[in-house]
């Protein structure tokens, strides 16, 4: 490694994290004073107050993770522009999420007083088994993703600054767990906006470094063409097969709209105007971000021209290497804030969603087993009775404690880092998509879908996906998402048609028009 940045690299990161913490705490305390609504609706959903900019940014920052900033571009350094072409499929994610789920989730969740995605699933299918299965799946896959984020962020920090991996881990973990616990969903959404901006700044700074070091754009392109002409072909002379394009379309394009951490955002926006504007703004920003950062990976091949072995044998090292090789220490410190922001913004969103799954969807539900969502915790409206006030205080303490507990657990699990961050992330994406896709889509759009079909789909589909993963079994050499999604669909359809139709009460909320 040419030069480590040391303190100069540490300062921007610490300043950024401190700013995030301050903003999260401030926004939450201001909202708490102004609204005075129910704690659960505020802590887990920010009282449905997101405007267009924050909505777009929080959706993108939740979704854009450290693998978009380190693993993906590293792979693009090796594969070439095919990988960038593949990353471009992510431009569909925002309009798919808002266009398919946005209005319906907004209407249904308000009608039900639902705060979490699982609230909606429970109300649609009237099944505690399904809701508990969903909570378990969310916690397990979210924890997996969070570990991948912590590890990716801390490794990058260590590689660029020269401080130890554990130092990096402690700094992020303390910051992210603190601002999530204190800030709640609202704090997370607003820090996500800050993180999104940091990600964009990081891309621009690094682009400047790469093109300066590489002798300008045309020189960089000529170097790539001279060393690796195959990197200028979409199929990379076989390194980038059509099957991979296909499965990535499914994993990071088409099916991202059913990721629960994304769907919960469609329950949090203020009004339709906010959602419509976020759709355009978000598509502009996510395209710039995903295409931009992945292209930087390929452009790095105009600067880092040795074999992979010279860079530690892992493509995950490419971005840290190119940062230290092309930027002066203080700019390198600013550039690494981008990927670190990507990492913590994903962690914070998953952390708040994972604690909502345990506190709201499992614990509160057992405490008030007979209450439907609309009776137990109306968004923005705890009643003034003494019981309700005492309840609210207990829920408040438990919610904060659970967020803190999950954060600490993930931190401990990250101390010994697993390998293959990029694949861990894709594993979790595929698992969540398999579990939730048909349960959500059929829940909202197919009135015949039943509890039994949904349980079969979620549990059976996820099991099929995980077993195929564990055995390394693939169809036509394709990622196991092509097993999980069809299995989950068949189980949903067969299970639903074999059982009794949903009752009138469910239909009145979900299918009033039919």
């Amino acid at each position: 490694m040419s030069s480590l940045t040391g303190l100069a690299g540490l300062v921007p990161v610490v300043v950024f994290l401190a700013a995030a913490l301050g903003i999260a705490v401030y926004s939450r305390s201001r909202a708490a004073k102004a609204a005075g609504g129910g704690f659960v609706g505020e802590y887990f959903l920010g009282n449905r107050s997101l405007g267009a900019f924050v909505l777009a940014m929080t959706t993108i920052a939740t979704y854009g993770s450290v693998s978009s900033f380190v693993g993906g571009p590293g792979q693009a350094w090796q594969t070439g522009f095919g990988w960038v072409y593949m990353a471009a499929v992510q431009v569909t994610t925002l309009f798919l999420l808002y266009g398919l789920m946005g209005k319906k989730m907004a209407l249904v969740s308000r009608k039900l007083g639902a705060v979490t995605v699982i609230d909606v699933i429970r109300a649609r299918y009237k099944s505690n088994v399904l809701a508990n299965a969903a909570a378990i799946i969310i916690v397990v896959f979210f924890a997996t993703t969070m570990i991948a984020q912590f590890v990716g962020g801390a490794k990058l920090f260590a590689a660029v600054t020269g401080y130890s991996y554990v130092t990096g881990l402690v700094i992020f973990a303390v910051a992210v767990v603190a601002f999530t616990t204190l800030g709640g969903f609202r704090g997370v959404a607003i820090t996500d906006a800050l993180c999104g901006i940091a990600m964009l700044v990081g891309i621009v700074v690094l682009a400047g470094g790469i093109f300066t070091a590489g002798g300008g754009y045309e020189q960089v392109m000529d170097t790539i063409a001279a060393n690796h002409p195959e990197m200028l072909e979409p199929l990379d002379a076989g390194g980038m097969p059509v099957g991979l394009y296909f499965t990535q379309w499914l994993l990071v394009g088409v099916f991202t709209f059913c990721l629960p951490q994304s769907v919960v955002r469609t329950m949090g926006f203020k009004d339709m105007k906010a959602m419509r504007n976020a759709m355009v703004l978000g598509t502009v920003i996510i395209g710039f971000m995903m295409i931009g950062v992945t292209a930087l990976g390929t452009f790095s091949a105009g600067v880092l021209t040795d074999d992979l072995a010279a860079y530690g044998g892992s493509v995950d090292n490419i971005i840290p290497q190119v940062i230290v090789a092309t930027l002066p220490p203080w700019l390198a410190g600013i550039a690494i804030v981008g990927p670190i922001a990507a990492s913590i913004s994903t962690v914070s969103s998953l952390l708040i969603a994972a604690s909502s799954a345990i506190v709201k969807d499992v614990w509160l539900n057992y405490r008030h087993p007979r209450a439907h969502v609309q009776e137990s915790v109306p968004v923005g409206g705890a009643s003034g009775k003494p019981d309700a006030v005492r309840d609210d205080r207990v829920v408040r303490i438990v919610s904060h404690a659970m967020t803190l507990f999950i954060g600490i657990a993930v931190f401990v699990l990250s101390i010994t880092p697993p390998d293959l961050i990029w694949k861990i992330n894709m594993f979790a994406f595929g698992g969540l998509e398999t579990a939730f896709c048909w349960v959500l889509v059929c829940g909202l759009f197919w009135k015949r879908a039943t509890k039994e079909g949904a349980i079969l789909s979620m549990v059976g589909g996820t099991a099929a996906y995980c077993i195929a993963m564990a055995l390394g079994f693939k169809l036509f050499g394709l990622h196991q998402i092509v097993i999980g999604i069809p299995v989950a669909l068949v189980l949903m359809v067969a299970g639903s048609l074999a059982t009794k139709q949903p009752d009138d009460e469910t239909r009145a909320v979900f299918f009033p028009a039919d």
Partner: protein, 91 residues
């Protein structure tokens, strides 16, 4: 402009918008294939860069932005999300 549609009307409209979104997805997929693999087969190069690299990535992005603009301006309607048809009086 908020309309006073019933809950059932709003849900029906949401179904139409979901279908339109799938059409939008199809448009982007077709554009992605044509602007990437399609243009790559021509072998054209500009600014030391194969043309497909630009059209397949930035071109696809622009198509997606156009889809998003059309969806948000022409397809998706503003409705009052807080349903007031039954309970009445909270504005």
């Amino acid at each position: 402009m908020k309309n006073r549609a019933s809950y059932a009307d709003k849900m029906r409209q949401a179904n139409r918008e979901a279908k339109a979104t799938l059409v939008g997805l199809a448009v982007v997929v077709i554009a992605w294939v044509a602007l990437g693999f399609g243009v790559a087969s021509t072998g054209i190069e500009v600014f030391h860069t194969p043309l497909w690299v630009i059209t397949g990535t930035v071109g696809t992005w622009i198509v997606a932005i156009i889809v998003a603009v059309v969806m948000s301006r022409r397809v998706i309607t503003d409705v009052d999300l807080d349903d007031v048809e039954e309970g009445g009086a909270h504005e």
